[in-house]
């Protein structure tokens, strides 16, 4: 009779057994592998500029205004569908990378510009600014460490239906709205309490109430105008426009190693065309971003050149990445222990030792 090995059940909760195990074994808040970049070169790469982000943000808002206006103008006719398709992607998907880069404070040199765009993007993507600032800090401390990272989008075994539903935020959207409502009445979950410090918690409640106010005004406008158009411009695009965010975002870590201390093994860099890179603000250079989060999005291609000899080969296209991700996730649905093993190039420094 053949013996089958027991499958390890993973506890992704931040207050569960795997989180405690990660702390015990030294995987939490650990030292990560870092490629060698001379200080002078790194200093140049880290330099902040306002110019690129002002240009890109102006273009983003111009495209939003144009597509939104065309959608309203053609409402009831087929060109409105095309206009809202564009508007939705700009609103519900491009906001993800703006949220991300401005949350790091690296998009603009001027601090308040980062804060303004961050808060706008948070409304667009249904993310509460304070909670997500702290959850993202944890994601960078403990990237894809089970029980520590609150932002593991694709767990094992993967929730394939959930990924498909989230193309239109049908799973994460209602959860986000529930979170906003919970915070608006002054409550946090146990998990949130594990990464949002006490002194910051009042901010969570205040901003949740502001978000509720924004959505109430949107609903009131729909009722007053007897039209769904206000919701098509604010609120609903977080759902109908989210699909490209999922397409881009799934490439970041899905099907790669968990519980390793080397971003070269648990993150993907995928080469993309200039339009995608504009929408995604160069987050396709994901290994580089995780290893050196101080480097602004516009300098990531140069950082890629600087460290590529020490990193696995990047995926040449989005299609190439999905050729690995789709079969990988299907396999993990049957065998959650399996993961893609990235190959380091000959001459690369060895991977960091995980605990």
């Amino acid at each position: 009779m053949s013996e089958t090995l027991p499958v390890r059940t993973r506890d992704y909760s931040l207050v569960g057994i795997d989180g405690a195990r990660a702390v015990e074994s030294g995987l939490a808040s650990a030292q990560w592998y870092s490629c060698l970049v001379p200080r002078k070169q790194m200093k140049a790469l880290m330099q902040r500029r306002d110019g690129p982000a002002i240009r890109d943000t102006a273009l983003w808002f111009a495209c939003l205004s144009l597509s939104g206006s065309l959608g309203v103008y053609f409402w009831g006719r087929w060109p409105a569908a095309v206009a809202f398709l564009c508007y939705g992607v700009l609103y519900g998907s491009a906001s993800d990378s703006r949220w991300h880069e401005c949350g790091h404070g690296t998009a603009f040199r001027t601090r308040w510009m980062n804060d303004v765009v961050y808060n706008i993007a948070c409304v667009m993507i249904l993310r509460e600014p304070t909670v997500w600032r702290w959850s993202h800090a944890r994601h960078h401390t403990d990237t894809i460490i089970v029980g520590r990272d609150p932002e593991i989008a694709v767990k094992r075994p993967p929730d394939l239906l959930g990924i498909l539903l989230n193309m239109f935020q049908l799973k994460s959207g209602p959860a986000a709205l529930y979170g906003i409502a919970l915070h608006a009445i002054g409550r946090l979950t146990d998990e949130e309490r594990s990464f949002v410090p006490k002194m910051e918690q009042h901010k969570v409640f205040r901003i949740a109430r502001i978000h509720v106010g924004i959505f109430v005004m949107m609903i009131a406008s729909c009722i007053a105008l007897r039209s769904i158009i206000p919701a098509m411009l604010l609120g609903l695009p977080s759902f109908y426009g989210a699909w490209l965010m999922v397409v881009f975002g799934t490439t970041q870590h899905a099907a790669l190693a968990e519980d390793t201390l080397d971003h070269r093994l648990n993150s993907r860099t995928v080469m993309m065309n200039p339009v995608f890179r504009f929408l995604y603000w160069n987050m396709n250079y994901h290994v580089e971003h995780h290893m050196f989060p101080m480097v602004p999005y516009h300098a990531l291609p140069a950082l890629h050149e600087a460290i590529k000899a020490d990193c696995p080969a990047p995926y040449p296209s989005l299609i190439a990445a999905y050729r690995e991700i789709i079969p990988g996730l299907l396999r993990q649905a049957r065998d959650p222990e399996w993961h893609v093993v990235r190959t380091l190039p000959a001459g690369a420094l060895p991977e960091a030792v995980s605990a």
Binding site: K43, R48, T106, R109, R133, A137, H140, T141, P293
Partner: protein, 100 residues
């Protein structure tokens, strides 16, 4: 205690100084003044000397937390605790730090 020489730190940059099991960060401001703080970020104990100096701000390389290195004051999330500062004196080419 001599921490470094002037020319070991570029203007608007930071230098790591380890002494007696402790680590410090020495800064040279854009107006050519020198300052010193604890070397590790108060958020998750990452070396600030790997971060970026912008004006009178040091930004931590891990989560982009910011401090005013002249006073040690944290400038918002994820920084909840200020940084300890130390007196600095420049004597000729030498940068001296006052640590107990």
């Amino acid at each position: 205690m001599v921490a470094c020489t002037r020319d070991e730190i570029e203007e608007e940059d930071v230098f790591r100084f380890d002494h007696d099991g402790r680590t410090f960060a020495i800064y040279r401001s854009p107006d050519d003044e020198f300052f010193a703080t604890d070397g590790l970020c108060t958020h998750e104990r990452v070396h600030l000397a790997d971060g970026l100096v912008m004006g009178h701000i040091i930004e931590c390389p891990k989560h982009n937390g910011r401090f005013d290195y002249r006073t040690g004051a944290g400038k918002g999330a994820p920084i909840c605790v200020d940084l300890a500062t130390y007196p600095v004196k420049v004597e000729g080419e030498k940068v001296l730090i006052g640590i107990a």
